[in-house]
């Protein structure tokens, strides 16, 4: 069985800056995987490379066995990405945005699933509101909804709870846990380490474009008895 995500020796340079320095990772289907690291570690570049937004200089990446360059259409259809930046199209309402996003993935009649997403993300009351009129937290929810419209088997959440209130966080994690329980693979980047500790079965720690630690959350924690994931993170980054 193909891994949900396979990343082999990926290198990416931006001019003189080496953003990814030979990253290799394999994430199994159904995992709840954490990708952690300080700002500039290369997490978003790695996610962008997986999503086809950035092209690797060397190495290969695949989603459920489909190479993200050679077989990009299949790979992208299997992936849902919540971008880190709070971006939106100011011309459309929430429902229009989700219908359009469904269409991009080849889905014409998707209202039943859209309604379910809206309900789960507490957006049902805002369905017909223009994106410009939403608060930052609401816009973040719509970004999550957009990534889920095509029920992707692999979901990448790039800091999905930044600037989001506690209530939504809890609702979001409940929904994402449910999706994970139904077999969706989840890849999470976050600076809220307690969230990663509570949710992720396995974690990769990145620093300066490299994976510097990769293990189950339990094993990482066991290496620092009595400590939290934050302690593990800080010590690993200091090494």
């Amino acid at each position: 069985m193909a891994a949900a995500v396979s990343i082999v020796d990926v290198v990416k340079n931006f001019g003189m800056l080496r953003a990814l320095d030979g990253v290799s990772l394999e994430i199994a289907e159904g995992e709840f995987f954490g990708l952690l690291g300080p700002n500039g570690a290369g997490k978003t570049t790695l996610i962008s490379t997986l999503a086809g937004l950035v092209r690797a200089d060397s190495g290969s990446l695949s989603v459920l066995g489909h190479d993200v360059v050679r077989d990009y259409r299949k790979a992208r259809s299997l992936l849902g990405v919540v971008p880190q930046e709070l971006v939106f199209d100011p011309f459309f309402s929430v429902r229009e945005t989700l219908r359009i996003q469904s269409g991009y993935f080849g889905l014409r009649h998707n209202d039943a699933w859209i309604d379910e997403i809206l309900e789960n993300l507490d957006l049902a009351g805002k369905a017909n509101v223009n994106m410009r009129r939403l608060s930052g937290g609401m816009k973040r929810r719509v970004l999550v909804a957009q990534a889920l419209v095509h029920k992707p088997p692999v979901i990448v959440l790039d800091e999905p709870t930044a600037g989001v209130d506690v209530e939504l966080r809890q609702g979001l994690w409940q929904f994402v846990r449910r999706l994970n329980g139904e077999g969706h693979t989840i890849i999470l980047t976050t600076h809220y380490l307690e969230e990663a500790e509570a949710l992720c079965g396995r974690i990769a720690l990145m620093k300066q474009g490299r994976v510097v630690a990769l293990d189950t959350t339990a094993n990482l924690m066991a290496a620092h008895p009595g400590g939290t994931l934050e302690d593990v993170f800080v010590r690993t980054m200091q090494q």
């Binding site: 992208r76 269409g103 991009y104």
Partner: protein
């Protein structure tokens, strides 16, 4: 195909939601041109055997059509790039050919809507007949498609709104306004006549005008050959840039 139709629908919806700015405004601008130039020159100037106002109307229709086709794709792309919402069309599995077709087709539709609007607003001021409707439609469609594709190149290239404004004001505006919209190139000195023949927009407007009056500065077959060649060249370039992900994918 659903991805293509959705992107096309989104682009249509985008300009239709601000139709006052994207359709009504260029119609008003063209009407003002007609009122000013028509009032000043009608009765003094006759071109190709028709009154100046009659001569001017097809040129204004085509000019607005071309400028708005360009504005549609270019503004949509630059806005999406600057705000970051371009990721919504880059993440899905939309092939670059469908991406190209959706943007160009939506630009063409906006151009045609503006053209029909300008014609409807100006036709009351002079006698207008359509001698060769097929020629008229061919030049309208090809001209709109060329400028729609050119708008994509500008939108891909520009990283800021002022770069796009530069492209529009220093290239597209002069090309369209100095293309025989307001005059027959036979009224120009020999040097400027020769220069006009290097302007592809001249052939679009001259061929389009032939559809109305059955007369033109150059034979419509020659204009058609130039316009088809331009369409092929601009399309190939745009498709190549999209395939590479030029300024879209790092």
């Amino acid at each position: 195909m659903i991805g293509f139709w959705t992107l096309f629908y989104k682009e249509m919806l985008r300009f239709w939601k601000v139709a006052f700015q994207t359709v009504a405004s260029p119609v008003l601008t063209a009407l003002l041109y007609l009122l000013i130039f028509g009032h000043v020159l009608d009765g003094h100037v006759e071109v190709h055997g028709v009154s100046y106002t009659s001569f001017l109307i097809p040129g204004l229709v085509m000019m607005q059509m071309l400028q708005n086709a360009f504005a549609n794709s270019s503004s949509s792309l630059i806005q999406a790039k600057v705000t970051g919402s371009i990721v919504f069309v880059l993440l899905p599995p939309i092939p670059y050919g469908a991406f190209f077709a959706a943007y160009v087709l939506a630009s063409l539709v906006r151009g045609l809507m503006v053209g029909v609007g300008v014609l409807a607003a100006t036709v009351w001021f002079a006698e207008i007949s359509v001698v060769a409707p097929l020629w008229l439609m061919v030049f309208a469609i090809l001209g709109g498609a060329i400028l729609g594709a050119l708008g994509m190149i500008a939108g891909l290239w520009a990283e800021k709104f002022d770069q796009l404004a530069g492209f529009q004001n220093f290239l597209i505006m002069p090309l369209t306004m100095l293309s025989g919209v307001f005059y027959s190139i036979h009224s120009l000195p020999a040097f400027w006549q020769r220069v006009s023949h290097y302007n592809p927009v001249f052939y679009m407007i001259d061929g389009f005008r032939y559809g109305f009056f059955g007369v033109s500065d150059v034979a419509p077959e020659i204009s058609l050959a130039v316009v088809v060649a331009c369409f092929a060249a601009v399309s190939i370039l745009t498709l190549a840039l999209l395939k590479r992900g030029w300024k879209l994918r790092a």
